[in-house]
């Protein structure tokens, strides 16, 4: 058995080696992320976290998010060490409220892993019925071509797809928007969307990714998650193109959209 090399002249050489070791990869899969793997890169990001700013800006695409997720996903950084560092953002003895959201987001990762441990079969199967008025058979098994190629009729959605495919990362709110669009606007099974995300996200985790998709779909929550253009404009501007003329399918009040997306009513 041959011990694989660890010294490469440059990233292109490493890339060629990874491809040689990966015959199952499609020849069309050529995109590499600017995000570099390894503990050193993870520690650099860890040194830059701002848990307090995260707390009040995290829902905005331009918010102070940590970008630690790929490193946490693969155990390069532990949740424990990230939490321990975040605790230092508030002086000892002072209220922890300013860092509560940051710590809670770490807890979501712990929660998903624990659910996965208890119920590994939930990862690819509906945990509950859809509450959308539709049955699983009403949803397509495959992702439409225009989604795979970022050619939908919504500019913001195309921006999210392109970002996912080129960087291997999407802001959490953008993930929710894109997941909701796939499942509710296009009536595609959440499993197809989850596979698409896992193929591109550096941090894609069967539990966090798939159970979040089920939360959006309503098969692991009390109601479907959806959004409207006004919400998108509030949180995704100016990073994503949010003009109404370029995103007409997303426009409307929540009642109008619910009537359009769930014509048989949402079952609660």
């Amino acid at each position: 058995m041959e011990n694989q090399p660890k010294d490469f002249a440059d990233r292109d050489a490493l890339l060629a080696h990874v491809r040689a070791l990966s015959p199952s990869l499609s020849p069309k899969d050529v995109q590499v992320s600017d995000t570099v793997g390894g503990r050193q890169a993870g520690e650099k990001r860890l040194a830059k976290i701002d848990p307090i700013a995260y707390g009040h800006s995290r829902n905005y695409l331009g918010g102070a998010v940590s970008y630690l997720s790929p490193y946490i996903r693969h155990g390069i950084l532990s949740l424990n060490e990230v939490r321990n560092l975040a605790l230092k953002a508030v002086p000892q003895g002072e209220a922890i409220k300013p860092i509560e959201k940051f710590i809670q987001e770490l807890a979501w990762r712990d929660f998903w892993q624990r659910v996965y441990q208890q119920n590994p079969d939930w990862i690819w199967h509906d945990v509950e019925d859809y509450k959308t008025g539709f049955t699983p058979d009403d949803y397509s098994d495959t992702l439409p071509d225009d989604i795979q190629t970022a050619q939908t009729d919504c500019a913001a959605i195309n921006y999210f797809i392109t970002t996912l495919q080129t960087t291997g990362y999407l802001h959490n709110h953008a993930r929710m928007y894109l997941a909701a669009y796939i499942v509710h606007w296009r009536r595609v099974k959440w499993q197809a969307g989850a596979r698409f995300f896992l193929a591109h996200l550096l941090d894609g985790d069967p539990a966090s990714n798939n159970l979040s998709f089920q939360w959006v779909a309503s098969t692991f929550s009390n109601k479907p998650y959806f959004f409207n253009l006004e919400n998108l404009q509030k949180f995704a501007h100016p990073q994503a193109p949010c003009e109404e003329a370029d995103n007409q399918a997303l426009a409307g009040s929540y009642d109008q959209l619910a009537a359009r997306l769930f014509p048989y009513g949402v079952s609660l």
Binding site: Q4, K6, D29, G38, H74, N80, F111, Y116, Q118, G204
Partner: protein, 141 residues
């Protein structure tokens, strides 16, 4: 006798408790298993990220089927015990279960030191139990 540390994709750091769990001489290995990565749905981006991560780690990288490669490595080094990180991933657990070796699972540092509540379903049920510990260093009282 020596031990074999199998570093899988969910425990990729040198400070993982896995590396201090054995007092015997050890060889640490990562198995680059194309079929496993395909089954997990990993594209080129993820694979490059993983390989870059391995460059900094004290592990030997072998390419091949994980079970067959681990069996062959254990045979060559006369190893009867394998250490691997605890994981909820059934594919990785199936691999551990299929090996003709004693397998010791080593847990990650806990985020909160508490048992898994029964019937976990909604986050806030978990959070109500976890939050006191979540704001403590090392997640302990």
């Amino acid at each position: 006798m020596s031990d074999l540390i199998w570093l899988h994709e969910e425990a990729l750091r040198a400070s993982h408790p896995l590396f201090s769990a054995s007092s015997a001489p050890t060889q640490s290995v990562f198995i680059w298993d194309d079929a496993y990565m395909e089954a997990m749905g990993y594209g080129l981006k993820r694979r490059v990220f993983l390989y870059e991560t391995l460059l900094e780690l004290p592990v030997d990288i072998y390419a091949g089927d994980t079970i067959e490669t681990l069996k062959a490595l254990a045979e060559t080094s006369h190893t009867s015990r394998l250490l691997a990180a605890t994981t909820p991933n059934p594919r990785l657990n199936d691999i551990m279960g299929a090996l003709p070796l004693e397998v010791t699972r080593v847990a990650e540092d806990a985020f909160v030191e508490m048992p898994n509540p029964e019937g976990l379903r909604r986050f806030f049920k978990y959070w109500n139990k976890a939050k006191k510990l979540a704001f403590q260093p090392n997640g302990t009282r």
